[in-house]
Each structure stands twice: as structure tokens, then as C-alpha cells.
């Protein structure tokens, strides 16, 4: 055998592998359509890969799925959970759950990149937890769990020079996940300085985008948690026809059944596994100094609102309470909680986001919360009383009046914001 032939035998397959890999990643495939069952599984999976990607979200939002942006409460999948109710009563919308522990405004802002076309003139639901509004704001480790280069590249390629863009670029530069990639980092620095990215950078990023999209398309739905059985078992506990009084009784019964081992009406499993006696003893009075009124989160929230405004999306905002018994025990200030809520409501309503469900005074209602700070049985059912009429509204483009003031440090640190009276309509 000649040496040339030997060389070809060694490196030929390697070259072929690289060529095939190039074809796989660089051709805009948009692999096969996503089946209905795959979309449903994805919509309740709360999978980080789905959150980071876009292909599945795009496919879902083009259909009857409505994004429910939130955080850890989305995982409280009892029979009154929005996904269970929509599934059981065959509603004409289906919630697509986006978020988990630690996902806050900044996470959601980047998670929204890539789906703006699908959400233009459509609806969305967002559960804003006052707990997000800490002194530090978005935790960087949690951020990295939900952040992907695809989100960054999507955003960079669509960003126009504006207060919001400069704010977002600067904010992302403070996150280790945002600076991990050199080319992303330098593009962010350009945008933060209010400059345009060069044509060459754009070309490079577009190639990256193609690769990342194909990667997302191929791999994001692999290894997805399957929560469908949980949804089905929840639906199984519901009566065939929707009647509020019946459902309320079931919510109360379920709540009573699951909160027997502690005086806080916290679900037994949460109390045993997540808290434990020792931890509970340690937490007494521990939240006395919590303050949600001053936080970089307010600016981050403005980014999300700006994104909604650019899509003319009609959004229902839900602000959940804390478990009153727990708050009393840990010393969390009700006055402070209300002040933070006032500030959030003001920021929303002053810019035209009027569909606000303020539940922050319902923390003492029976089985409203599933544990310490997460909505459960009765809470979810109450949410449903607002979600239903909201979903019945006709889709129409909404014009918001955005105000850059909400990006400022002055707003982030402002206190003594008075209450604003606005509320979404409720079914009776």
C-alpha cells in the first residue's frame, strides 16, 4: 500500500466526519415539525434546555400555547395548577410553563429572545414574586442555569441602540455566564458603549446563531423531564364539569389533606424535606430585615416590560402573597411587602400594563399557599378566576408608553411609593 493511500485511510474518515458535522450544523434544517404530544410534554416540563432554546417555544406559541413566565411556584402542580385546569377542561389555551427556582426578570428577558415574532399581538401571563426584589437582584449562579449563548446571540443581532439595550448589555456583562464567551463579551461591550457591532462580527454571530439553532433543534428536547403523568393525576381528582364551588371544596380538602404535620399550613413533604425541625427553629425571626423595596430587579423588570411593549403583547401580571403564618414566624414585614408591591404595581400600571392581579393580601386565606411562598390549591384556583376572563379577551395589539426612568438607580432605590388602584377583571 502506498503511503498516500495510508494517509488517506487515516485522515479520510476524519475529514468526512468534519464535513458531515459542518453540514449538520450549518444548513438551516428546521427539523421535522413538533408533534402535539411533544409540545404538551415540553410545556409542562419546566426543562432548562427548553427555556434556553427557542425552537420548541416558537412552535408552541405559534399554536394555542400561552407562556406563563414565573419561578418556582410553577412546579407546584396540584389539581388547581393552571396547566391541570387547562388540560382537564380542554380550554382553548394551554399554559407553557417557563421558569423555575431562581429565574427572575433578567433570566426571562433573555429567555424571551427568539420568540418575539410568535408573541407579537398575543397574550402572556407573568407571575412576579416580590421575593425577586432583593438587594442583589438576580443571582448569577441561578442566571447561568437558564442562560444560553443562543439567547445572547439572538438578542445581540436584534438589538438597537437604546437605553434598554445599553442597560441589558451592561447587566449581562456583570454575569459570569454572560462574559464566558469572548466574542459575546466583546459584542456586549460594543453595545454597552452605545455603538454598533461591525459587519464582520455580525457575520460571525449569524454563523454561530445557525449552529446554535441547529443544536437547539436537535438536542433541547432530549432528556426532558416528563411531568405529564403528574398533570394527568391532578386532572383525575377534578370533577367532569367546571364549577367554582365544587373546585373550591376540592382545593380546601386537598389542602387539608396535605398539610398535617406543621402549624404553618405548609405541605407535609415541603416541611419534611426542604425545611425540617432544625431549620424551622433556625429561621424564627430570620426575615425581620428583609427588604424588597430597593433592588436592581426593578430595572431588570423594565427590560421585560420593554420586550413585551415591543411585541405589543397583552400580559396578565400576578403578584402572589407569602404564607401569613410563615411570614409572622420569620418576622417578614407585611408593611415592607406591601410597599414593594406598590412599587411593582406603579411601574406596571404607569406604562399601560393594567392587567394586574394583586394577591398580596391573600396570604392568610386557607390553603392559598402550598408552602412558604408558593401558590397552591386555593391560590391557583383564585389565579384561574383572573386567567379565564383574560384568555377570553380578543387578541389585539396594545400600545404601551414606556419610560426610561424605570431603568435608573433613582427608581431602583426609591421608597414610599403609594398604592395604585388597578386590577384585572375577575370572573364571578
Amino acid at each position: 500500500m502506498s503511503n498516500k493511500r495510508k494517509l488517506w485511510q487515516i485522515f479520510g474518515p476524519v475529514i468526512c466526519a468534519f464535513v458531515l458535522l459542518g453540514i449538520l450544523f450549518l444548513v438551516p434544517w428546521h427539523f421535522s415539525g413538533k408533534s402535539d404530544s411533544a409540545l404538551f410534554k415540553a410545556s409542562v416540563s419546566r426543562s432548562n434546555n427548553i427555556f434556553k432554546g427557542q425552537e420548541i417555544k416558537k412552535a408552541a406559541f405559534a399554536k394555542e400555547y400561552v407562556p406563563f413566565y414565573g419561578s418556582s411556584e410553577l412546579s407546584r402542580m396540584d389539581p388547581m395548577h393552571p396547566s391541570v385546569l387547562a388540560y382537564k377542561y380542554k380550554r382553548d389555551y394551554k399554559p407553557f410553563l417557563l421558569g423555575g427556582p431562581g429565574s427572575q426578570s433578567l433570566t426571562h428577558f433573555f429567555g424571551m429572545q427568539g420568540t418575539s415574532q410568535e408573541l407579537t399581538d398575543k397574550k402572556a401571563v407573568m407571575i412576579i414574586s416580590p421575593q425577586w426584589f432583593t438587594k442583589e437582584g438576580q443571582n448569577s449562579a441561578a442566571f447561568s442555569m437558564y442562560f444560553s449563548q443562543l439567547q445572547a446571540v439572538d438578542w445581540i443581532l436584534s438589538a438597537k441602540n437604546s437605553e434598554a439595550t445599553r442597560y441589558a448589555a451592561k447587566r449581562l456583562l456583570t454575569m459570569p455566564a454572560g462574559t464566558a464567551d469572548e466574542s459575546t463579551k466583546s459584542a456586549l461591550q460594543t453595545l454597552a458603549a452605545g455603538k454598533q457591532i461591525s459587519g464582520q462580527t455580525r457575520l460571525l454571530l449569524e454563523t454561530r446563531q445557525r449552529i446554535l439553532e441547529n443544536e437547539d433543534d436537535l438536542f433541547s428536547s432530549l432528556n426532558m423531564p416528563n411531568n405529564v403523568p403528574q398533570i394527568q393525576s391532578g386532572a383525575h381528582k377534578l370533577p367532569g364539569t367546571y364549577a367554582y364551588d365544587n373546585l373550591r371544596q376540592i382545593a380546601l380538602d386537598q389542602g387539608a389533606e396535605h398539610t398535617t404535620n406543621n402549624p404553618f399550613d405548609i405541605s407535609n413533604s415541603f416541611y419534611t424535606h426542604r425545611l425540617g425541625e432544625k431549620e424551622v427553629a433556625r429561621l424564627k425571626g430570620s426575615q425581620k430585615n428583609f427588604d424588597y423595596t430597593k433592588s436592581p430587579e426593578y430595572g431588570d423588570l423594565e427590560l421585560v416590560l420593554d420586550q413585551f411593549a415591543s411585541q405589543h403583547t397583552n400580559v396578565l401580571f400576578i403578584i402572589p402573597p407569602v404564607n401569613s403564618k410563615w411570614a409572622k414566624y420569620t418576622g417578614l414585614s407585611e408593611k415592607m411587602y406591601q410597599e414593594a408591591t406598590n412599587k411593582i404595581v406603579k411601574q406596571l400600571s404607569s406604562q399601560g400594563f393594567d392587567n394586574i392581579v394583586n394577591l398580596t393580601k391573600d396570604g392568610n386565606k386557607k390553603y392559598f399557599m402550598e408552602d412558604t411562598i408558593h401558590l397552591g390549591w386555593n391560590g391557583w384556583l383564585t389565579v384561574d378566576q383572573y386567567v379565564q376572563p383574560f384568555m377570553k379577551q380578543k387578541n389585539q395589539p396594545i400600545t404601551y408608553h414606556m419610560d426610561n426612568y424605570y431603568f435608573s438607580k433613582a427608581w431602583a432605590n426609591k421608597t414610599n411609593v403609594g398604592p395604585t388602584k388597578v386590577s384585572a377583571s375577575k370572573s364571578n
Binding site: 503511503n3 495510508k6 494517509l7 487515516i10 485522515f11 476524519v14 432528556n223 424535606h273
Partner: protein, 405 residues
Amino acid sequence: MINLQPYTNPRYFLIILVALLPLIIGLYFGKRFKIYEAIFSLVFLFLMFDGKDTIQGWQLIAYVIFQFIITFAYQRYRQAGKNKTWVFCLAVILAILPLTTVKIAAVVPTQVASLIGFMGVSYLTFKTVEVIMELRDGTIKKVDPITYARFLLFYPTLSSGPIDRYRRFKADCDKAPEREEYLDQLRLGTRYIFQGFLYKFIIGYVFGTIWLPQVAHAAQVLGNANGGLKISWALVAYMYCYSMYLFFDFAGYSLFAVGTSYFMGIKTPMNFNKPFISKNIKDFWNRWHMTLSFWFRDFIFMRFTFFAMKKKLIKNRIRISQVAYLVDFLIMGFWHGLTWFYIVYGIYHALAIIINDIWLRFKKKHQKQIPHNKFTQALAIFLTFNVVCFSFLIFSGFLDTLWFH
């Protein structure tokens, strides 16, 4: 600042392949471009120890200077025809002093201590100690400074081995291999690197990144629920999952290092040879992290055995080998780190190999009564596999987290 850690992702291999291309073409035509090789090594060492790792880079430089002083001072002493034991011991102690400092610093909980150490310090120390010991034996007559620097700083194996030997390396690094032989090395190198992809980036990833955290979480939750020693089925699953991860991750890395060495015309020895089909623990250590276990065999076990026999410390030969195993594996345990689980791991393997020796002697004596067939062989492999996996559970430190944190 660009910082390139070896073998971390597929892109790295493209970069290194392009950088090595002139060297590869040269070797194919029978020429070894030593100056290019030196520049390549320096550039990639710089990229490995720059940016956030600069502090490690300075330590590496200081370390190499320090080792050069010891090695060449000792060589001078040996060339003068002198061979005092205490001088030899002093040289060895000095050579392992930096590593000892690093290992102690690792368990000192202060800010400054956490800065001490650099990637590869453990593996470099094996090489320097080997050279000093061979100078003592006279198997190495003369160490050439340039070859010694190339040997120590050989880029593909710097961070985690395999551990090469000076004389073997020297034979390869001065000449270019015959074309026939080099083609064979290219063939094997390519195969090893792709096998490494499968091992480290696919199988190791599934076991280590996808499954291991899930199993660990389950083992924590179930363990806490069970109480006592916190033993659960999830802990058993953790043991196997971690063992698989450990093998595929490290074997994958080793294949990368060997494959890259072959491209550079250096036949770095292999580290693994199907360890999970070992028939007994002794067999296992001839197949698992081979360059490490052979180093320990040659420079700890054998030396201790000869020393003990010469000084008549212990009369009984069997007893000598048993003590030698204990010394051998204890030192290996300490080398891994100064925590209880590494040391227990060492003692555990020493005991396993001692028991294995007793059994083998017993079996030899009663050859007629003890059956030997396919079934007993399978049983032996199964037993060895489980004994080894249990040792990796200790090694993983997970029990430490489970019990004490």
C-alpha cells in the same frame, strides 16, 4: 485573555491540530523541528497558565528552576563518584517538598493557602523523583538539560500524565521515527483521540454530568430519610455511576494525551487496559492507571522490599511484601490528598491486595480441590469489579459529604 485548558472541548482539538501541522509534516518527511516544537510548547503552556491562572504559571516556573537545581546538583555529586544514602534521601525529600507543600496547603483553610499549587505539580514530581532515583542507581548516567526540560514540560501530558520515563522519552525525542512507524503512530493517534471523544465527551458526560448529580441528590434525600449510615439503593447506584464516570473521564483524557503525543512522534505509554475485566486486584492494578501503578511498583514497592530485605527488617518474605503493599498504597493515598477518604482508599486497596495474595497462595496449595472454569472466572471478575467500585465510592468523597456535611 484567551486561556486554553487542554482537551476541554472539541474546538481545542482543531486548534492544536493546526498548531501541530508543521511538526507533523516534518515528522512525516523524517525531520523533527525541535525549535518549532519548543515554540509550540511554550505558546500552549503560556495559554494554559495565563489570565486567571497566571499565579499558577509563576509557580510552575519557580518549580522547574528548583527541580533543575536539585537534579543537576545531585548529578554532579554522582558524577564525582560519590553515593551516600543521606545525600540521595535529601535530594528526594527536596524534590517532593513542593508537592508536599501543595498537598498540605490544600487542607489549610486560608485564602493564601488556596493559591498554592499549579496544574500538573503531582505529575511533574513523579518525573523528577524518577530521574533522581535512576541517577542513584546509575541507570541514568547523564541528564541533558534540554532533554530534561522537554521531558518535564512535555505539553500533552503535563497536566495529568500518563507518566513517562526519562530514558524512554529521550530515545523518542531526539530522532524522527521511520515513515512506516510514524504512519502507524498517526493511525493510532487518530484512533485514540476519537476513542477519547467517545469516552470523555459522550459516555463520561452522560455518567458524570447528566446522571451523577441526579443520583447524588437521590442518595442524599433517601439517605437522610433512612438515617444511621445513610445507606440507600441510590447510594449503590451512585457507586456504579461514579465508577463509570471516573473511568471514562480519565481514560478519555489519557487517550487524548497519548494520541496527541503520537502525533508529535513520542510514544507516551498507555494508562488503561480494560480495567473492569480484571480477574483480581493485582490484575486490576496492572490495567488501571498503569503509568502510576508501575511508577509506584518500581520506585516505592520494589525499593521498600529490597531495603527491608537488605536491612533484614522483617524475616518473612510474605510479611515483607504485605508491609510493602501497605506502604505503597498508603503513599498513593496521601499523594491523592490529605483527607480521610483518600487514605482509607489506600488502606482498602492494600488490604484487598494482601487478601488476594493470601487467596492465591491458598489456591496454589489446594489446586486440586478448587475448581477453575468459566463460571469461577466470571465470578472473579464480578467480585473484583465490585470491590473496585466500592473503593471508588470511598475515593469519590461522597461519603464524606453524606456523613459529615
